[in-house]
Amino acid sequence: MKIPTPVITLIVGLALAVSLLVSSMSAVSAKKAALAEASANTGANTGTAAPASAQPTTAGASAATGQSPSAAPSPSSSAGFVIPPQANYVGEVQGDLGSVAIVVHNTFAVAYFCNGKTQEAWFKGTPQDGKLSMTGKGNATLTANYALGHARGTVTVDGIAHVFSIIAVHRPSGLYQSIADVRGATVKAGWIVLANGTQVGSMMPDANAANPSSQTAPKLDISSRTAQYEGTTIVATPIDGETGSGF
């Protein structure tokens, strides 16, 4: 029976898609294996290192965590997930209301939420087996689950909870911070550079005040890592879990 040519088109497309998918999965598996080995060596491993199998473990394991897009899911055990000891995650929160960055570096984690205007919060916490429970000023909280490649959770700032599902990124995307003295006031700014290169940043022009207010941060020049504020050049430090910068 002669196969009609439109069906051949579909079959060719499907075959191409499947082969790309399989090679993507093995590329990610290879990365997992390399990470598992590295974390076993550094001893910062949480004991979940799974040697790479070419199985689509992310798809299988995430089926359990994907039922509700709103709640922060918790994988029953970290079955199939590799928890990296160092990672940077950035992304937008649900509803176009701001962005969040989470940086994990061995036993420390830092996170930052801002909407590029008057809402921002810095968080600190200790990573525990792929889970984060962080706090910031003014009852701001951030809870998340993270693994290789992605993190999911909820950040609550000023009483509003924002859900997020974000991906791991590398420089130049990531979190940047600047703490500078500008004419006697301590200016603290944070920028989140998203995976697509756009940036969002807020700053407190008087960070040591009792109730510091926030405003839009000046644009960060990513190549020089500087920004201009009221005639002064402020320098930003990348907060990078992979290099340890900022920790």
Partner: protein, 195 residues
């Protein structure tokens, strides 16, 4: 005297033509729905990895995908243009003999160009809803592949109503353009060509 008596017009016996039937489309539409749903559900449940297989020659995934997607749109425009000529809608051009071949091949190339893009998109980024742009993109992306599947399968059926192919083709094109606007166009206008 009396009006001429006219014999009743003989019953015309048309050559046997099967009635065109929309029912022939049931299976293609079901398959198309399956394709759309699979893409959407997988994209939603699968944990986006942020990475996929690298395509050599470009600095990052966003550029690769935007270029491929733009190429697909170019071939899709040739698709639509050639279909207009085939249906005689372009008065000053009479369809040359190779127009059918042009239409089919431009379509195949456009489709194949979209495949690496959708694999990367779904695998590395997933079905996202955090902004209107990505929501529209995610939905249109799923619908496009379903529509394209229906169109391909409908081509194998004789006797579908005449409006089916233009409708499916037009819909596929509209969805592709929507996908392109919410991704490649946005990407190039945000970052330019340098990356």
């Amino acid at each position: 005297m009396a009006a001429q008596w006219e014999p009743p017009a003989p019953t015309r016996l048309d050559p046997v033509q099967p009635a065109t039937s929309g029912r022939l489309l049931v299976v293609p539409v079901l398959v198309g729905c399956l394709v759309s749903l699979t893409l959407g559900i997988y994209g939603r449940l699968h944990s986006p990895t942020g990475v996929a297989v690298d395509v050599i020659g470009f600095s990052n995934g966003g550029t690769v995908k935007s270029v491929l997607a733009s190429g697909a749109v170019v071939f899709a425009v040739i698709q639509v243009g050639s279909s207009l000529v085939m249906y005689g809608k372009v008065r000053w051009i009479s369809a040359p003999s190779w127009i059918g071949g042009l239409h089919r091949w431009s379509g195949r190339i456009a489709f194949i160009l979209t495949v690496p893009v959708v694999v990367h998109c779904v695998y590395a980024l997933g079905f996202q809803t955090f902004s209107a742009r990505v929501l529209v993109h995610s939905i249109a992306g799923c619908l496009f592949f379903g529509t394209f599947t229906v169109k391909m399968l409908a081509l194998t059926k004789r006797g579908t109503p005449g409006w089916v192919l233009p409708l499916l083709g037009g819909l596929a094109f509209a969805l592709l353009v929507l996908i392109w606007f919410t991704s490649a166009f946005w990407f190039f206008t945000t970052f330019g060509w340098s990356r």
